[in-house]
Amino acid sequence: MAFTFAAFCYMLALLLTAALIFFAIWHIIAFDELKTDYKNPIDQCNTLNPTVDRVKKIKRVRLALKLVLPEYLIHVFFCVMFLCAAEWLTLGLNMPLLSYHIWRYMSRPVMSGPGLYDPTTIMNADILAYCQKEGWCKLAFYLLSFFYYLYGMIYVLVSS
């Protein structure tokens, strides 16, 4: 029983996945709000996309970190951690989501700031349905991976 780097990775991933689960739930709620008219698409996209506020005169770019990018960054972060810890199976399991994230970000609509969602097309029924489905799938994935990390952590702790 020893506290290895791999065990540390699993613990970190466990905590971060918990955060991601909350993100996914928030994502689902956000799109549900759109669908049921609670919110204006412009406002909603502004909360979903990280907004860049250019403060006049000072010319300082302040990145108000919002939802999409943090989620992607957190996921990339613990993927890198697993890479360092040489946990190949776990890394492999995360690869599909990682590549999906990269593809999703590459094929986003033309935008000057960072972000994924375009208020002019978000109300299109197909896109809205797609985003909702995406939210549910991610929630399921994160929940499963949460338990997998728990198992992985214990396994690493016990076996070493």
């Binding site: 204006n40 412009i42 006049k56 609509p109 033309v110 000057s112 208020p119 109300m123 029924a125 197909d126």
Partner: protein
């Protein structure tokens, strides 16, 4: 299936309807639809028996002799025999009201809602005609000889009389399928085509304290509600029972009391209400017009400023508005110029802002001035403006900063910004690079850069939309100006886009004339500010996607900063629940706007259609023109979001799927040939025409801007205009006689027949008029009748005709009068005058005429017959 349209997209919950319909529906309506279904089934089997008795092989015999049904050329026969009148040959007209009438007579007086579906006999008669199988490979002459009205919904006469005009409100399927499964089986798109703010000659305007609406889903009262008794009415969308308010008992038209069903809102399906202050977020704002003009060297060179200033001077009095109307001007080259027009100044004062990175408004008042008070100054400015920049050497264009300035200027009130741009924006925010590679104009591979290069214009448009500012774009450039990016500024702020390629006031007179006429219409047309449009429909139907220029604010609400009478909208629908418990489906579009006189008004259109349970009835009710327009809209979305070739494949697949579905449905049809129901016989032709549109064609050299403009037009023009663009009307006009005529407002209008769009129909002896909506061609054959040339065009013979004639002179001959009467009759219902070109057969201009002959083969595209074979091949896969 990546290359098919998601016609039948995912379901989503529709929230605008009352949930509690179950208790109220069962009362009086449900037993009758059941019996109807029973009767309907019987009627249908009768129809299919008819088919068996009269197999399709006998159909060509019904064809009128002069049209023939084989492929050989047939001009001589066509010329000599006046073609039969459509009402004498049922195979042309599509619908045959005289034949239908007697059948519906036995069942006329049932005025209740549930009996609204016409008689049994009528149904089968109508279906027999629209479902008559047509073998496209054998029947050549499927084009009706004159304009056919859209199919009429199969409703009782009472309801049909009050139903919304098809010019305003059309549905792709006039028989709504009961379930999504049935719709999927038919493989046809379900959607609405709307022209909500159309100029109307007759419109009941209602002023009342309470506008009667359903308590829960907020639908306006309409002719299709049912009154349970004197005091209660039942909604036709959610079936909720509502109370009739006291005021509604009084009828202002007949001045009688106690007859709520005689009120104008129950007698007309298009009405306008004067809204109370409940319908306002802020007091109605004055009409505010801001003109943003490009004055760089390029713009001055093209000479548009003269035309614009003159037009505005002429129409200054006619700008819609009241005493509060305000007007302002901004010009820009590499700097932005404002004009102080304060009343009392001796001459307009020009203020230059050169800090385009952070543009600001130099003075907050007097840049937008009251038109009435400062009229003299405005006139001075308009007179001086063309001369002010004649010697400019400024070639840069700071469009982005100018638009930002316009936005800041208009923020407090909202209104209309008209932008005139002549080149690619090269300075400041929103600058664009040339993205077009001229070598790829005619590539058959994918066309790049159909989407915007930057989201600057879109963001600006959204800001504008939020502040109720509509931006209209006039692009008058000879070079690539990236319309794909620029058009976004109008697209999302509910504006309109006008494009005049290679505009020059001297070198291109046709274009210049068109610009002048368009401006005349643009400046004087009706306008609505701060508008929103909501579309409600019967519970079970829901909105899938909107097409047009607007910003979608929620699932069924469009935000339109400006609304103009020339723009149309398309809506894709999906069937979310079952419509089995109802016999009628209703759609209501309500447009709430502030008129230019500062009145808040609501224009309500209601359309009512029958619901059917049989696949054959769905086919029978297909409105092919509406389907074509909706498909065009979907294809354009697809070509921007995915690729042009995907969109083209999806269009072809739409035809293939639909015809396969029809073949799978009707087992009594012989397998060979390409069989369509008569209602859909034009479907392959129209799709082929769409594929040869500038917007969607490949292989033929098309400039990127022209392609994008064509896409913009397909997205936001009303249906009739789109149909003329896609499938122009061709007439032979040198041998028009007074025999086949139509008397219209006292004058005699000759009615030549519509010809198929193929060079086969053209003869060297003839003169042919082609009407493409925004442009008209008069094509003259080499051996054209000299009397025609002399009497109509005023030249002695063919050789002396100039090659760039752009109008028909007013000559005092019978020939000329007849021709002009016909052309003005064509133009009558149109708001924008088309450009007119006289095309001689030997000039280079003839390619622009021949490219519209969509049935002919081109180097890169199928002929009509080849296309049919291609479809057949796809179907047999």
């Amino acid at each position: 299936m990546p290359k098919k349209f998601m016609i039948f997209g995912q379901k989503w919950s529709c929230i605008s309807f009352c949930g509690d319909s179950s208790s109220t529906t069962t009362g009086s309506a449900s037993p009758v639809p059941n019996s109807y279904e029973y009767v309907e089934g019987g009627g249908y089997s009768g129809t299919s028996l008819q088919y068996l008795a009269a197999p399709p092989t006998s159909v060509p015999a019904k064809q009128a002799p002069p049209f023939g049904y084989n492929y050989p050329t047939m001009h001589p026969a066509y010329q000599q025999n006046p073609a039969p009148r459509p009402d004498s040959s049922p195979s042309h007209g599509g619908y045959n009201p005289p034949g239908y009438q007697p059948y519906s007579q036995p069942f006329p007086s049932l005025s209740e809602l549930s009996s609204a579906l016409g008689g049994l006999g009528g149904v089968s008669e109508l279906e027999a005609e629209t479902l008559r199988p047509v073998n496209l490979l054998q029947e050549r002459n499927i084009l009706p000889p004159k304009y056919t009205p859209p199919p009429e919904p199969n409703l009782s006469n009472d309801l049909r009389k009050v139903n919304c005009s098809p010019d305003t409100f059309r549905c792709t399927l006039t028989n709504i399928p009961q379930t999504q499964a049935l719709l999927n089986k038919a493989r046809l798109p379900l959607g609405l085509l709307l022209h909500p703010f159309r100029d109307l000659t007759q419109l009941p305007v209602i002023t009342s304290n309470t506008i009667v609406r359903c308590r829960s889903c907020r639908t306006y009262i309409n002719p299709f509600v049912s009154f349970l008794d004197q005091r209660r009415w039942k909604r036709n969308l959610c079936y909720r029972v509502n109370d009739v308010p006291d005021e509604f008992m009084y009828n202002p038209v007949t001045r009688s009391y106690g007859e709520p069903h005689k009120r104008p809102e129950v007698q007309n399906s298009t009405v306008e209400f004067i809204a109370s202050s409940d319908y306002m977020l802020r007091p109605p704002q004055p009409a505010v017009y801001l003109f943003v003009l490009d004055v760089s060297h390029n713009a001055v060179e093209s000479g548009y400023l003269n035309v614009f200033c003159q037009s505005l001077l002429d129409n200054l009095e006619k700008l819609p508005g009241d005493t509060r109307t305000r007007i302002g001007f901004v010009t820009f080259d590499s700097t932005v110029h404002f004009y102080n027009l304060q009343e009392g100044l001796s001459q307009p004062q020009m203020l230059v802002v050169s800090d385009i990175d952070d543009v600001f408004i130099p003075t907050h008042d007097n840049l937008l001035v009251n038109l009435k008070e400062s009229k003299e100054l405005v006139k001075d400015l308009l007179n001086a403006l063309p001369g002010m920049f004649t010697h400019t050497r400024e070639t840069q264009s700071a469009l982005g900063p100018a638009l930002q300035a316009a936005y800041k200027l208009m923020c407090p009130t909202g209104g209309r910004v008209s932008v005139f741009q002549t080149q690619l924006p090269t300075l400041g925010a929103g600058l664009l690079q040339s993205r077009e590679d001229p070598n790829l104009r005619s590539s058959t591979k994918n066309v790049q850069h159909l989407g915007p290069a930057t989201d600057f214009y879109k963001k600006l448009a959204l800001d504008c939309s939020g502040q109720q500012i509509g931006v209209d774009l006039f692009l008058l450039s000879s070079q690539y100006s990236d319309l794909a990016s620029l058009a976004c500024v109008s697209k999302y702020s509910a504006g309109s886009v006008f494009y005049y390629p290679s505009f020059h006031h001297v070198h291109n007179t046709a274009q210049s004339q068109k610009f002048q006429k368009d401006l005349q219409r643009y400046l004087t047309r009706k306008i609505g500010f701060e508008a929103v449009m909501r579309i409600r429909c019967t519970k079970g139907l829901s909105i899938h996607t909107f097409h047009g220029n607007f910003f979608v604010r929620s699932t069924d609400l469009l935000s339109l900063a400006n609304v103009n009478p020339d723009s149309g909208f398309a809506v894709q629908m999906s069937i979310e629940g079952s419509l089995a418990d109802t016999s009628l489906a209703c759609f209501q579009a309500a447009l709430l706007y502030t008129s230019s006189k500062g009145k808040r008004r609501i224009r309500v259109h209601t359309l009512c259609l029958p619901v059917v349970s049989q696949l054959s009835e769905v086919f029978a009710g297909a409105d092919i023109q509406a389907i074509t327009c909706l498909l065009a809209n979907m294809a354009i979305d697809r070509s921007i979001s995915s690729s042009l070739s995907d969109a083209r494949d999806a269009l072809v697949n739409a035809v293939v799927d639909c015809l396969t579905a029809y073949r799978a449905n009707g087992s009594n049809i012989q397998p060979s040939g390409l069989i369509t129901p008569a209602a859909l016989r034009l479907f392959p032709l129209y799709v082929l025409a769409l594929l040869k549109q500038k917007a969607l064609r490949t292989g033929t050299s098309t400039r990127l801007d022209e392609r994008v403009f064509s896409m913009c037009e397909l997205k936001c023009q009303p249906l009739l205009q789109i149909m003329r663009m896609a499938h122009p009307d061709l007439y032979r006009i040198d041998n028009m006689t007074d025999q086949v005529t139509h008397i219209h407002t006292g004058s005699v209008i000759p009615q030549p027949h519509l010809l198929q769009l193929t060079a086969e129909k053209l003869t060297r002896e003839g003169a042919f008029l082609m009407d493409c909506g925004s442009v008209m061609f008069l094509w003259l054959g080499k051996c054209c009748n000299e009397t025609f040339i002399r009497d109509v065009l005023g030249y002695p013979n063919y050789a002396s005709l100039p090659s760039n004639m752009t109008e028909i002179p007013e000559l005092q001959t019978m020939y000329s009068e007849r021709t002009r009467a016909f052309i003005s009759w064509l133009l009558e219902s149109r708001t924008f005058h088309p450009a007119f070109h006289v095309v001689k057969d030997d000039t280079s201009a003839k390619t622009s005429f021949f490219q519209h002959l969509v049935e002919d083969r081109t180097e890169s595209a199928f002929s009509y017959y080849e296309f049919l074979l291609h479809i057949q091949q796809q179907m047999s896969k």
